[in-house]
Symmetry: C2
Subunit: 191 residues, 2 copies
DNA sequence: TGAAGAATGTGATGTACATCACGTAACGAT
DNA sequence: ATCGTTACGTGATGTACATCACATTCTTCA
């Protein structure tokens, strides 16, 4: 399945679009390829785009005191990522995005997203649906972080995304869970 | 300012609406009044509505093991609250919502929201904007929870919402920050 | 292919916070 | 006014996790 098919399958599952609309929407996306380890957004950058993952795996993360990293999101195929705060408020990036594996993405600028949302009601509906899902997922993660200990969160994560176990180095999983790599290592060696 | 004015000022700051549209949109909201302590949504309920706060203060919270409470959100005037997960997925509530003070709200059903979003493109845009803001706030809180200790989070919260200090009992602030009331008490007596 | 860096494991120790226990003060209903 | 309930403070102790230190294995690439 090529990039166009992946994106549009994802969209038309939510909203019906005519063939011309499909082509028109797709014409606002720009395909990009990144190598493993390559940066997509770096702290301090101007943020103009959001990214739809076609293949590969990205991470959105925050660096505290130039030392500690916390991962906001792993972005797998059909997920969207960016520094949404900087993108929507037109401020500089405080979040970094880079590639855990080689990745193929489709990017769309803030202006173009707003343009096609304005022009096609169904597209606006799609983006509302998408943000809504992200919001609900984020609230769930907040609760999990407050309610559960690290071991429970680790098991939750692997139950939800089993692919991560082999795809992503353990210290990144630790940075997502909000513990150190040492603690994570002890968690599963304890069982 | 009456309930209608509060709601519509809030909306037209984001999207322009004609006078007829304003009346039409408002006709889908139902005014409700709650007393301090009264429940709006209880765990296990069917969730049909979301709530726009006109005056007063609500909280959305989760109860763990029938013992520990964690607060997802304080809902102040012009904020929206509900169990969005249950509302959008049409499942039973896992989250509770109740009133910290007497409160005046406007509620709208899931069907009516989707209906006016379908009928009026600007309204769909408004709800996308609103959810987007919630999503960004939620991501910020996630990062703060992972990066900062309880004292820093306490200061952040009071800097952002100084009204909370006098309005909300301290044990609820603790439940929002994700610490026990004892720890919170020690945090500010230490300074 | 071999050397450097990245990822991982594991012990010793430190610390932020939870838990338990008990006290006092403020509030709300009869 | 008073009695029960809720809010709040504070000490003693326990615990999950961080930090530091060092060893081992796995990757990458010149």
């Amino acid at each position: 399945m090529n990039a166009k098919e992946v994106l549009l399958q994802h969209i038309i599952k939510i909203v019906p679009l005519s063939d011309e609309q499909i082509d028109y929407v797709f014409s606002h996306f720009k395909p990009m390829n990144f190598k493993k380890g390559q940066a997509v957004i770096s702290e301090g950058d101007k943020v103009d785009y959001e990214y739809f993952v076609v293949s590969g795996c990205l991470k959105a993360f925050y660096i505290n005191d130039e030392i500690k990293m916390h991962i906001l999101q792993f972005a797998m195929p059909t997920w969207w990522t960016s520094d949404f705060c900087a993108l929507y408020n037109n401020t500089r990036a405080t979040i970094n995005v880079d590639c855990i594996t080689d990745a193929e993405v489709l990017c769309i600028s803030n202006e173009d997203r707003e343009k096609i949302c304005r022009e096609i009601h169904e597209v606006e509906h799609f983006f509302r649906w998408r943000t809504n899902r992200g919001y609900i997922a984020s609230q769930k993660r907040l609760l999990s972080l407050m309610n559960n200990d690290a071991k429970t969160r680790y098991e939750e994560l692997l139950a939800m995304y089993p692919q991560l176990y082999n795809l992503v180095p353990k210290h990144l999983i630790a940075a997502y869970l909000g513990v150190t790599r040492e603690t994570l290592s002890r968690l599963y060696s304890a069982h």
